[in-house]
Protein backbone atom coordinates (compact mmCIF):
# COMPACT_ATOMS: atom_id res chain seq x y z
CA UNK A 1 0.00 0.00 0.00
CA UNK A 2 1.53 3.22 -1.07
CA UNK A 3 1.12 5.89 1.58
CA UNK A 4 1.26 8.54 -1.14
CA UNK A 5 -1.28 6.84 -3.33
CA UNK A 6 -3.91 9.44 -2.56
CA UNK A 7 -1.75 12.44 -3.32
CA UNK A 8 -2.37 14.34 -6.52
CA UNK A 9 0.25 14.43 -9.25
CA UNK A 10 0.98 18.04 -8.43
CA UNK A 11 1.39 17.18 -4.75
CA UNK A 12 3.82 14.43 -5.62
CA UNK A 13 5.87 16.70 -7.83
CA UNK A 14 5.97 19.27 -5.06
CA UNK A 15 6.99 16.64 -2.56
CA UNK A 16 9.76 15.54 -4.92
CA UNK A 17 11.01 19.09 -5.08
CA UNK A 18 10.86 19.31 -1.32
CA UNK A 19 13.20 16.36 -1.06
CA UNK A 20 10.81 13.43 -0.72
CA UNK A 21 12.90 10.71 -2.31
CA UNK A 22 9.92 8.50 -3.00
CA UNK A 23 7.46 10.97 -4.47
CA UNK A 24 8.74 10.87 -8.01
CA UNK A 25 8.73 7.09 -7.97
CA UNK A 26 5.07 7.13 -7.04
CA UNK A 27 4.40 9.50 -9.90
CA UNK A 28 6.24 7.23 -12.31
CA UNK A 29 4.43 4.16 -11.05
CA UNK A 30 1.13 5.90 -11.49
CA UNK A 31 1.64 6.83 -15.13
CA UNK A 32 4.18 4.39 -16.45
CA UNK A 33 1.75 2.10 -18.28
CA UNK A 34 0.23 4.93 -20.28
CA UNK A 35 3.61 6.48 -20.99
CA UNK A 36 4.90 3.13 -22.08
CA UNK A 37 1.96 2.50 -24.40
CA UNK A 38 2.41 5.87 -26.03
CA UNK A 39 6.13 5.35 -26.44
CA UNK A 40 5.89 1.82 -27.77
CA UNK A 41 3.17 2.66 -30.26
CA UNK A 42 4.87 5.80 -31.41
CA UNK A 43 8.37 4.42 -31.80
CA UNK A 44 7.39 0.82 -32.46
CA UNK A 45 10.50 -0.77 -31.03
CA UNK A 46 10.57 -2.18 -27.53
CA UNK A 47 14.15 -1.31 -26.67
CA UNK A 48 13.93 2.14 -28.17
CA UNK A 49 10.69 2.74 -26.33
CA UNK A 50 12.25 1.64 -23.05
CA UNK A 51 15.20 3.96 -23.55
CA UNK A 52 12.96 6.83 -24.59
CA UNK A 53 10.76 6.46 -21.52
CA UNK A 54 13.75 6.18 -19.23
CA UNK A 55 15.50 9.19 -20.74
CA UNK A 56 12.33 11.23 -20.61
CA UNK A 57 11.64 10.41 -16.99
CA UNK A 58 15.22 11.11 -16.00
CA UNK A 59 14.84 14.46 -17.66
CA UNK A 60 11.58 15.12 -15.89
CA UNK A 61 13.19 14.15 -12.59
CA UNK A 62 16.04 16.57 -13.16
CA UNK A 63 13.88 19.40 -14.42
CA UNK A 64 10.91 19.08 -12.13
CA UNK A 65 11.68 22.49 -10.66
CA UNK A 66 11.12 24.05 -14.05
CA UNK A 67 7.63 22.65 -14.42
CA UNK A 68 5.50 25.75 -14.53
CA UNK A 69 2.17 24.15 -13.87
CA UNK A 70 0.61 25.46 -17.06
CA UNK A 71 -0.59 21.97 -17.85
CA UNK A 72 -1.33 18.86 -15.85
CA UNK A 73 1.67 16.91 -14.66
CA UNK A 74 0.63 13.94 -16.74
CA UNK A 75 0.41 16.13 -19.83
CA UNK A 76 3.90 17.37 -19.14
CA UNK A 77 5.20 13.82 -18.71
CA UNK A 78 3.52 12.69 -21.91
CA UNK A 79 5.01 15.60 -23.79
CA UNK A 80 8.50 14.72 -22.65
CA UNK A 81 8.03 11.07 -23.55
CA UNK A 82 6.54 11.76 -26.98
CA UNK A 83 9.28 14.26 -27.75
CA UNK A 84 11.85 11.69 -26.73
CA UNK A 85 10.30 9.21 -29.13
CA UNK A 86 10.08 11.68 -32.00
CA UNK A 87 13.65 12.71 -31.42
CA UNK A 88 14.79 9.12 -31.64
CA UNK A 89 12.83 8.67 -34.83
CA UNK A 90 14.39 11.81 -36.30
CA UNK A 91 17.79 10.56 -35.32
CA UNK A 92 17.04 7.33 -37.11
CA UNK A 93 16.11 9.33 -40.17
CA UNK A 94 19.30 11.35 -39.95
CA UNK A 95 21.34 8.15 -39.81
CA UNK A 96 19.40 5.89 -42.11
CA UNK A 97 19.85 2.18 -42.02
CA UNK A 98 20.39 0.04 -45.10
CA UNK A 99 17.13 0.02 -47.07
CA UNK A 100 15.11 -3.12 -47.26
CA UNK A 101 14.91 -4.83 -50.66
CA UNK A 102 11.48 -3.38 -51.42
CA UNK A 103 12.89 0.10 -51.03
CA UNK A 104 9.87 1.27 -49.12
CA UNK A 105 11.37 1.36 -45.67
CA UNK A 106 10.92 4.78 -44.22
CA UNK A 107 13.30 5.58 -41.43
CA UNK A 108 10.62 7.12 -39.30
CA UNK A 109 8.79 3.84 -39.34
CA UNK A 110 9.13 1.34 -36.57
CA UNK A 111 11.39 -1.55 -37.43
CA UNK A 112 8.63 -4.04 -36.75
CA UNK A 113 5.00 -4.08 -35.79
CA UNK A 114 4.15 -4.01 -32.14
CA UNK A 115 3.72 -7.23 -30.21
CA UNK A 116 1.09 -9.55 -31.51
CA UNK A 117 -2.56 -9.15 -30.67
CA UNK A 118 -4.85 -11.94 -29.46
CA UNK A 119 -5.06 -14.85 -31.89
CA UNK A 120 -8.69 -14.41 -32.91
CA UNK A 121 -8.07 -11.12 -34.66
CA UNK A 122 -4.39 -11.59 -35.22
CA UNK A 123 -4.46 -10.84 -38.94
CA UNK A 124 -6.58 -7.73 -38.66
CA UNK A 125 -4.54 -6.43 -35.78
CA UNK A 126 -1.30 -7.03 -37.64
CA UNK A 127 -2.56 -5.22 -40.71
CA UNK A 128 -3.77 -2.28 -38.65
CA UNK A 129 -0.52 -2.13 -36.70
CA UNK A 130 1.49 -2.26 -39.88
CA UNK A 131 -0.55 0.53 -41.41
CA UNK A 132 -0.03 2.56 -38.25
CA UNK A 133 3.67 1.85 -38.34
CA UNK A 134 3.87 3.08 -41.93
CA UNK A 135 2.55 6.53 -41.07
CA UNK A 136 4.80 9.56 -40.75
CA UNK A 137 5.91 9.87 -37.14
CA UNK A 138 3.95 13.02 -36.32
CA UNK A 139 0.71 11.55 -37.66
CA UNK A 140 1.37 8.33 -35.80
CA UNK A 141 1.97 10.16 -32.53
CA UNK A 142 -1.25 12.12 -32.87
CA UNK A 143 -3.25 8.99 -33.68
CA UNK A 144 -1.70 7.08 -30.80
CA UNK A 145 -2.71 9.79 -28.36
CA UNK A 146 -6.20 10.46 -29.66
CA UNK A 147 -7.49 7.30 -31.28
CA UNK A 148 -5.70 4.66 -29.24
CA UNK A 149 -5.08 6.22 -25.86
CA UNK A 150 -8.27 8.22 -26.01
CA UNK A 151 -6.97 11.62 -25.02
CA UNK A 152 -9.10 14.61 -26.04
CA UNK A 153 -7.76 16.59 -28.97
CA UNK A 154 -7.01 19.56 -26.73
CA UNK A 155 -4.94 17.45 -24.36
CA UNK A 156 -3.10 15.77 -27.20
CA UNK A 157 -2.36 19.21 -28.60
CA UNK A 158 -0.89 20.24 -25.27
CA UNK A 159 1.15 17.06 -25.12
CA UNK A 160 2.59 17.59 -28.56
CA UNK A 161 2.89 21.33 -28.22
CA UNK A 162 0.86 22.12 -31.33
CA UNK A 163 -2.52 23.66 -32.11
CA UNK A 164 -5.68 21.61 -31.83
CA UNK A 165 -6.23 22.03 -35.56
CA UNK A 166 -2.87 20.44 -36.17
CA UNK A 167 -3.85 17.42 -34.13
CA UNK A 168 -7.13 17.11 -36.01
CA UNK A 169 -5.31 17.35 -39.30
CA UNK A 170 -2.63 14.85 -38.38
CA UNK A 171 -5.21 12.40 -37.11
CA UNK A 172 -7.42 12.83 -40.15
CA UNK A 173 -4.61 12.46 -42.64
CA UNK A 174 -3.23 9.50 -40.78
CA UNK A 175 -6.60 7.78 -40.71
CA UNK A 176 -7.01 8.43 -44.42
CA UNK A 177 -3.63 6.93 -45.21
CA UNK A 178 -4.39 3.97 -43.02
CA UNK A 179 -7.76 3.49 -44.67
CA UNK A 180 -6.12 3.43 -48.09
CA UNK A 181 -3.36 1.14 -46.93
CA UNK A 182 -5.73 -1.25 -45.20
CA UNK A 183 -7.97 -1.42 -48.21
CA UNK A 184 -4.98 -2.14 -50.36
CA UNK A 185 -3.57 -4.79 -48.08
CA UNK A 186 -6.88 -6.54 -47.58
CA UNK A 187 -8.29 -6.27 -51.05
CA UNK A 188 -5.25 -6.66 -53.24
CA UNK A 189 -2.93 -8.76 -51.22
CA UNK A 190 -0.54 -9.74 -54.04
CA UNK A 191 -0.20 -6.17 -55.21
CA UNK A 192 -0.34 -4.69 -51.78
CA UNK A 193 3.37 -4.30 -51.29
CA UNK A 194 3.78 -2.57 -54.57
CA UNK A 195 0.96 -0.22 -53.73
CA UNK A 196 2.25 0.55 -50.26
CA UNK A 197 3.88 3.79 -51.12
CA UNK A 198 0.80 5.13 -52.77
CA UNK A 199 -0.84 6.52 -49.72
CA UNK A 200 2.25 8.44 -48.92
CA UNK A 201 3.03 9.57 -52.42
CA UNK A 202 -0.25 9.66 -54.21
CA UNK A 203 -1.50 12.75 -52.50
CA UNK A 204 1.08 14.89 -54.14
CA UNK A 205 -0.12 13.72 -57.52
CA UNK A 206 -3.63 14.28 -56.39
CA UNK A 207 -2.86 17.76 -55.21
CA UNK A 208 -1.34 18.59 -58.54
CA UNK A 209 -4.35 17.21 -60.31
CA UNK A 210 -6.64 19.20 -58.09
CA UNK A 211 -4.91 22.39 -58.95
CA UNK A 212 -5.99 22.00 -62.54
CA UNK A 213 -9.36 20.56 -61.65
CA UNK A 214 -12.55 22.13 -60.44
CA UNK A 215 -10.87 23.96 -57.66
CA UNK A 216 -8.31 25.58 -59.90
CA UNK A 217 -10.10 28.89 -59.79
CA UNK A 218 -8.87 29.48 -56.28
CA UNK A 219 -5.64 28.04 -55.03
CA UNK A 220 -5.97 25.13 -52.70
CA UNK A 221 -3.64 24.63 -49.83
CA UNK A 222 -0.93 22.15 -50.55
CA UNK A 223 -1.15 18.75 -49.01
CA UNK A 224 1.88 19.42 -46.86
CA UNK A 225 1.61 20.21 -43.20
CA UNK A 226 1.81 23.90 -43.66
CA UNK A 227 -1.88 24.41 -43.54
CA UNK A 228 -2.46 22.46 -40.41
CA UNK A 229 0.07 24.35 -38.34
CA UNK A 230 -2.50 26.83 -37.24
Amino acid sequence: MDPQGGASDADLLRAHLDGDARAFAVLVRRHRDRLWAVALRTIGDREEAADAVQDALLSAHRNAAKFRGDAAVTTWLHRIVVNACLDRIRRRQAHPTVPLPDGNRGDDRPSAPEPAAPAEDHDTALVVRQALADLPAEQRAAIVLVDIQGYPVAEAAAMLGVAEGTIKSRCARGRARMALALSSLRGHEPAARGDRGHAAEGNQQAAQAVSSGPGAGRPLPTSGEGRDER
Binding site: R22, W36, A37, D55, N83, A176, L180
Partner: protein
Protein backbone atom coordinates in the same frame (compact mmCIF):
# COMPACT_ATOMS: atom_id res chain seq x y z
CA UNK B 1 -10.17 1.79 -52.32
CA UNK B 2 -6.46 2.22 -52.88
CA UNK B 3 -6.33 5.91 -53.64
CA UNK B 4 -5.67 5.32 -57.31
CA UNK B 5 -9.35 5.80 -58.05
CA UNK B 6 -9.20 9.23 -56.43
CA UNK B 7 -7.21 10.82 -59.19
CA UNK B 8 -7.75 14.54 -59.16
CA UNK B 9 -8.58 14.60 -55.45
CA UNK B 10 -6.32 15.99 -52.77
CA UNK B 11 -6.72 13.23 -50.24
CA UNK B 12 -5.03 15.09 -47.41
CA UNK B 13 -7.30 18.07 -47.91
CA UNK B 14 -10.32 15.84 -48.08
CA UNK B 15 -9.16 14.04 -44.93
CA UNK B 16 -8.79 17.38 -43.16
CA UNK B 17 -12.35 18.21 -44.15
CA UNK B 18 -13.70 14.89 -42.95
CA UNK B 19 -11.72 15.11 -39.74
CA UNK B 20 -12.98 18.59 -38.92
CA UNK B 21 -9.61 20.26 -39.27
CA UNK B 22 -10.99 22.77 -41.75
CA UNK B 23 -13.94 23.81 -39.61
CA UNK B 24 -14.36 27.55 -39.67
CA UNK B 25 -11.74 28.11 -42.33
CA UNK B 26 -12.29 29.26 -45.93
CA UNK B 27 -11.05 25.88 -47.12
CA UNK B 28 -14.04 24.22 -45.56
CA UNK B 29 -16.44 25.76 -48.05
CA UNK B 30 -14.02 25.17 -50.91
CA UNK B 31 -13.96 21.46 -50.19
CA UNK B 32 -17.70 21.36 -49.59
CA UNK B 33 -18.21 22.88 -53.02
CA UNK B 34 -15.87 20.41 -54.62
CA UNK B 35 -17.72 17.51 -53.02
CA UNK B 36 -21.03 18.89 -54.20
CA UNK B 37 -19.92 19.67 -57.72
CA UNK B 38 -17.26 17.16 -58.63
CA UNK B 39 -18.16 13.46 -58.88
CA UNK B 40 -14.56 12.43 -58.21
CA UNK B 41 -14.51 14.38 -54.97
CA UNK B 42 -17.95 13.11 -54.04
CA UNK B 43 -16.97 9.49 -54.59
CA UNK B 44 -13.76 9.99 -52.70
CA UNK B 45 -15.61 11.66 -49.85
CA UNK B 46 -18.09 8.83 -49.51
CA UNK B 47 -15.45 6.16 -49.70
CA UNK B 48 -12.89 7.82 -47.49
CA UNK B 49 -15.40 8.82 -44.81
CA UNK B 50 -16.33 5.21 -44.25
CA UNK B 51 -12.74 4.05 -44.39
CA UNK B 52 -11.56 6.60 -41.87
CA UNK B 53 -14.38 5.78 -39.49
CA UNK B 54 -13.53 2.11 -39.75
CA UNK B 55 -9.88 2.81 -39.03
CA UNK B 56 -10.79 4.88 -36.01
CA UNK B 57 -12.94 2.05 -34.74
CA UNK B 58 -10.11 -0.44 -35.21
CA UNK B 59 -7.66 1.79 -33.40
CA UNK B 60 -10.07 2.18 -30.52
CA UNK B 61 -9.98 -1.57 -29.97
CA UNK B 62 -6.26 -1.79 -29.35
CA UNK B 63 -5.56 -3.68 -26.17
CA UNK B 64 -3.95 -1.88 -23.24
CA UNK B 65 -0.19 -2.12 -23.33
CA UNK B 66 1.14 -2.33 -19.77
CA UNK B 67 4.79 -1.68 -19.22
CA UNK B 68 6.74 -4.96 -19.21
CA UNK B 69 8.10 -6.04 -15.86
CA UNK B 70 11.73 -5.66 -16.81
CA UNK B 71 11.24 -2.09 -18.01
CA UNK B 72 9.21 -1.26 -14.92
CA UNK B 73 11.96 -2.74 -12.78
CA UNK B 74 14.52 -0.49 -14.45
CA UNK B 75 12.45 2.53 -13.58
CA UNK B 76 11.86 1.31 -10.06
CA UNK B 77 15.57 0.96 -9.60
CA UNK B 78 16.18 4.40 -10.97
CA UNK B 79 13.56 6.26 -9.00
CA UNK B 80 12.45 4.24 -6.04
CA UNK B 81 15.48 2.96 -4.23
CA UNK B 82 17.49 5.33 -2.12
CA UNK B 83 20.93 3.77 -2.04
CA UNK B 84 22.58 5.69 0.69
CA UNK B 85 22.13 7.91 3.67
CA UNK B 86 23.31 11.44 3.42
CA UNK B 87 23.69 14.09 6.01
CA UNK B 88 23.24 17.72 5.20
CA UNK B 89 25.25 18.68 8.26
CA UNK B 90 27.93 16.25 9.18
CA UNK B 91 28.06 17.69 12.66
CA UNK B 92 24.47 16.98 13.52
CA UNK B 93 23.31 13.49 12.94
CA UNK B 94 19.81 14.46 13.97
CA UNK B 95 19.52 16.47 10.81
CA UNK B 96 20.43 13.52 8.68
CA UNK B 97 18.14 13.23 5.73
CA UNK B 98 17.86 10.46 3.28
CA UNK B 99 18.50 11.48 -0.23
CA UNK B 100 18.50 9.46 -3.35
CA UNK B 101 21.75 8.74 -5.01
CA UNK B 102 20.80 9.03 -8.62
CA UNK B 103 23.37 7.39 -10.74
CA UNK B 104 22.74 9.18 -13.96
CA UNK B 105 26.22 8.63 -15.21
CA UNK B 106 25.74 4.89 -15.06
CA UNK B 107 22.65 5.09 -17.18
CA UNK B 108 24.19 7.44 -19.64
CA UNK B 109 27.22 5.23 -19.96
CA UNK B 110 25.01 2.20 -20.48
CA UNK B 111 23.02 3.88 -23.19
CA UNK B 112 26.12 5.12 -24.89
CA UNK B 113 27.52 1.66 -25.06
CA UNK B 114 24.46 0.46 -26.87
CA UNK B 115 24.68 3.32 -29.30
CA UNK B 116 28.30 2.91 -30.17
CA UNK B 117 28.54 -0.84 -30.20
CA UNK B 118 28.03 -1.16 -33.96
CA UNK B 119 30.88 1.22 -34.62
CA UNK B 120 33.80 0.03 -32.59
CA UNK B 121 34.93 -0.13 -29.04
CA UNK B 122 37.75 2.28 -29.72
CA UNK B 123 35.50 4.76 -31.41
CA UNK B 124 33.13 4.39 -28.51
CA UNK B 125 35.84 5.26 -26.06
CA UNK B 126 36.70 8.39 -28.01
CA UNK B 127 33.07 9.39 -28.16
CA UNK B 128 32.77 8.82 -24.44
CA UNK B 129 35.62 11.19 -23.69
CA UNK B 130 34.07 13.68 -26.07
CA UNK B 131 30.82 13.37 -24.23
CA UNK B 132 32.49 14.05 -20.94
CA UNK B 133 34.15 17.15 -22.27
CA UNK B 134 31.00 18.39 -23.83
CA UNK B 135 28.95 17.74 -20.76
CA UNK B 136 31.37 19.22 -18.34
CA UNK B 137 31.94 22.28 -20.46
CA UNK B 138 28.32 23.02 -19.79
CA UNK B 139 27.07 22.23 -23.25
CA UNK B 140 25.17 19.15 -22.29
CA UNK B 141 21.52 19.90 -22.18
CA UNK B 142 19.70 16.96 -23.54
CA UNK B 143 16.68 17.82 -25.57
CA UNK B 144 14.67 15.76 -23.15
CA UNK B 145 15.69 18.35 -20.63
CA UNK B 146 14.51 21.01 -23.01
CA UNK B 147 11.27 19.16 -23.43
CA UNK B 148 10.86 19.21 -19.71
CA UNK B 149 10.92 22.98 -19.72
CA UNK B 150 9.87 24.08 -23.16
CA UNK B 151 7.29 23.16 -25.70
CA UNK B 152 9.57 22.09 -28.47
CA UNK B 153 12.08 19.94 -26.66
CA UNK B 154 13.04 16.51 -27.74
CA UNK B 155 14.83 13.93 -25.75
CA UNK B 156 18.35 12.86 -25.87
CA UNK B 157 19.89 15.04 -28.47
CA UNK B 158 22.89 14.79 -26.20
CA UNK B 159 23.49 11.56 -28.02
CA UNK B 160 23.88 13.42 -31.28
CA UNK B 161 26.28 15.80 -29.71
CA UNK B 162 28.08 12.87 -28.16
CA UNK B 163 28.99 11.56 -31.54
CA UNK B 164 30.00 14.95 -32.83
CA UNK B 165 31.76 16.19 -29.76
CA UNK B 166 35.44 16.98 -30.11
CA UNK B 167 37.40 14.28 -28.39
CA UNK B 168 41.02 15.28 -28.26
CA UNK B 169 41.16 18.21 -25.89
CA UNK B 170 40.85 16.04 -22.83
CA UNK B 171 44.23 14.45 -23.35
CA UNK B 172 45.91 17.80 -22.85
CA UNK B 173 44.45 18.35 -19.43
CA UNK B 174 45.20 16.79 -16.13
CA UNK B 175 42.63 15.68 -13.61
CA UNK B 176 40.42 18.50 -12.67
CA UNK B 177 41.30 20.54 -15.71
CA UNK B 178 38.41 19.62 -17.88
CA UNK B 179 35.97 20.21 -15.15
CA UNK B 180 37.06 23.75 -14.65
CA UNK B 181 35.45 26.50 -16.61
CA UNK B 182 36.20 27.00 -20.24
CA UNK B 183 39.26 29.08 -20.85
CA UNK B 184 40.41 29.03 -17.26
CA UNK B 185 43.78 27.73 -16.23
CA UNK B 186 42.67 25.04 -13.82
CA UNK B 187 44.57 24.45 -10.66
CA UNK B 188 45.40 20.78 -10.34
CA UNK B 189 43.83 19.06 -7.39
CA UNK B 190 45.82 17.98 -4.43
CA UNK B 191 46.38 14.28 -4.53
CA UNK B 192 46.33 12.60 -1.15
CA UNK B 193 46.65 9.10 0.10
CA UNK B 194 45.59 9.41 3.71
CA UNK B 195 44.04 6.00 3.99
CA UNK B 196 41.45 7.58 6.26
CA UNK B 197 38.40 5.44 6.89
CA UNK B 198 35.60 7.93 6.31
CA UNK B 199 32.01 7.52 7.32
CA UNK B 200 28.93 9.50 6.32
CA UNK B 201 29.49 11.61 9.40
CA UNK B 202 33.16 12.34 8.75
CA UNK B 203 33.21 12.54 4.99
CA UNK B 204 32.71 16.27 4.98
CA UNK B 205 35.61 16.87 7.31
CA UNK B 206 38.90 18.03 5.87
CA UNK B 207 41.48 15.30 5.30
CA UNK B 208 43.67 14.79 8.31
CA UNK B 209 46.83 14.51 6.27
CA UNK B 210 47.94 16.62 3.36
CA UNK B 211 50.42 15.06 1.02
CA UNK B 212 50.47 17.54 -1.78
CA UNK B 213 52.05 15.37 -4.32
CA UNK B 214 50.75 13.77 -7.45
CA UNK B 215 52.96 10.84 -6.68
CA UNK B 216 50.99 9.89 -3.64
CA UNK B 217 50.54 6.19 -4.16
CA UNK B 218 47.08 4.73 -4.26
CA UNK B 219 46.59 1.51 -2.30
CA UNK B 220 46.22 -1.61 -4.38
CA UNK B 221 42.45 -1.70 -4.79
CA UNK B 222 42.57 1.86 -6.06
CA UNK B 223 45.72 1.54 -8.11
CA UNK B 224 43.80 1.73 -11.35
CA UNK B 225 42.78 5.25 -10.40
CA UNK B 226 46.38 6.28 -10.09
CA UNK B 227 46.51 6.73 -13.85
CA UNK B 228 45.78 10.28 -14.88
CA UNK B 229 43.35 9.35 -17.63
CA UNK B 230 41.42 6.96 -15.45
CA UNK B 231 41.26 9.40 -12.60
CA UNK B 232 40.05 12.05 -15.00
CA UNK B 233 37.35 9.74 -16.26
CA UNK B 234 36.29 9.07 -12.70
CA UNK B 235 36.09 12.78 -12.01
CA UNK B 236 34.07 13.25 -15.17
CA UNK B 237 31.55 10.69 -14.05
CA UNK B 238 31.34 12.16 -10.58
CA UNK B 239 30.62 15.51 -12.19
CA UNK B 240 27.96 13.92 -14.36
CA UNK B 241 26.40 12.15 -11.39
CA UNK B 242 26.46 15.37 -9.41
CA UNK B 243 24.43 16.90 -12.20
CA UNK B 244 25.32 20.52 -11.58
CA UNK B 245 27.72 21.22 -14.40
CA UNK B 246 31.47 21.54 -14.23
CA UNK B 247 33.26 20.79 -11.01
CA UNK B 248 36.49 22.20 -9.65
CA UNK B 249 38.34 19.47 -7.86
CA UNK B 250 40.23 20.50 -4.76
CA UNK B 251 41.48 17.24 -3.34
CA UNK B 252 41.54 13.61 -4.31
CA UNK B 253 42.16 11.28 -1.41
CA UNK B 254 42.87 7.58 -1.84
CA UNK B 255 41.19 6.39 1.29
CA UNK B 256 38.32 4.21 2.53
CA UNK B 257 34.65 4.72 3.13
CA UNK B 258 33.11 2.60 5.84
CA UNK B 259 35.97 0.18 5.51
CA UNK B 260 35.89 -0.15 1.75
CA UNK B 261 38.55 1.25 -0.56
CA UNK B 262 37.36 4.57 -1.85
CA UNK B 263 38.54 7.65 -3.61
CA UNK B 264 37.27 10.71 -1.77
CA UNK B 265 36.95 13.77 -3.93
CA UNK B 266 36.28 17.24 -2.62
CA UNK B 267 35.04 19.63 -5.21
CA UNK B 268 32.88 22.66 -5.83
CA UNK B 269 30.18 22.89 -8.47
CA UNK B 270 27.09 24.86 -9.26
CA UNK B 271 25.32 23.16 -6.36
CA UNK B 272 27.97 23.95 -3.77
CA UNK B 273 30.93 22.18 -2.25
CA UNK B 274 30.85 18.42 -1.88
CA UNK B 275 32.81 15.53 -0.51
CA UNK B 276 32.19 12.50 -2.65
CA UNK B 277 33.27 8.93 -2.06
CA UNK B 278 33.54 6.58 -5.01
CA UNK B 279 34.59 2.96 -5.16
CA UNK B 280 37.43 1.42 -7.18
CA UNK B 281 35.36 0.92 -10.32
CA UNK B 282 34.76 4.63 -10.72
CA UNK B 283 35.63 5.67 -14.24
CA UNK B 284 35.57 2.38 -16.04
CA UNK B 285 34.39 2.88 -19.57
CA UNK B 286 31.36 0.73 -19.10
CA UNK B 287 30.89 1.75 -15.52
CA UNK B 288 29.84 4.71 -13.57
CA UNK B 289 30.93 6.93 -10.73
CA UNK B 290 30.61 3.97 -8.33
CA UNK B 291 29.29 6.39 -5.78
CA UNK B 292 29.41 5.23 -2.20
CA UNK B 293 28.39 8.45 -0.51
CA UNK B 294 28.29 12.16 -0.98
CA UNK B 295 27.81 14.97 1.47
CA UNK B 296 27.74 18.73 1.15
CA UNK B 297 30.64 20.56 2.71
CA UNK B 298 29.99 23.71 4.64
Amino acid sequence: MTGAEFRGVDIDLLADYIGGALAGTPDESVVATLIADDPAWRDAYESLSGGMAAVQAELGQFEPEPMPDDVAARLEEAFAAPRMTLVRDAGDAADAVREKEFDLAKRRAGRRLRWVTPIAVAAGAVAFVGFGLDYLAGRDTSSADKAATTAGGAADSAARRDNNAPAPARAESGPGAAVAGKGEAPRPPQILATGTNYSAQTLALAPAQILSSRSAAAPAPLARLNATATLQQCLDLIAAANGAGPITTETVDYAKFEGKPAIVVRFTAGNGAWAWASGPSCGTVSGHADTLAKVPVR
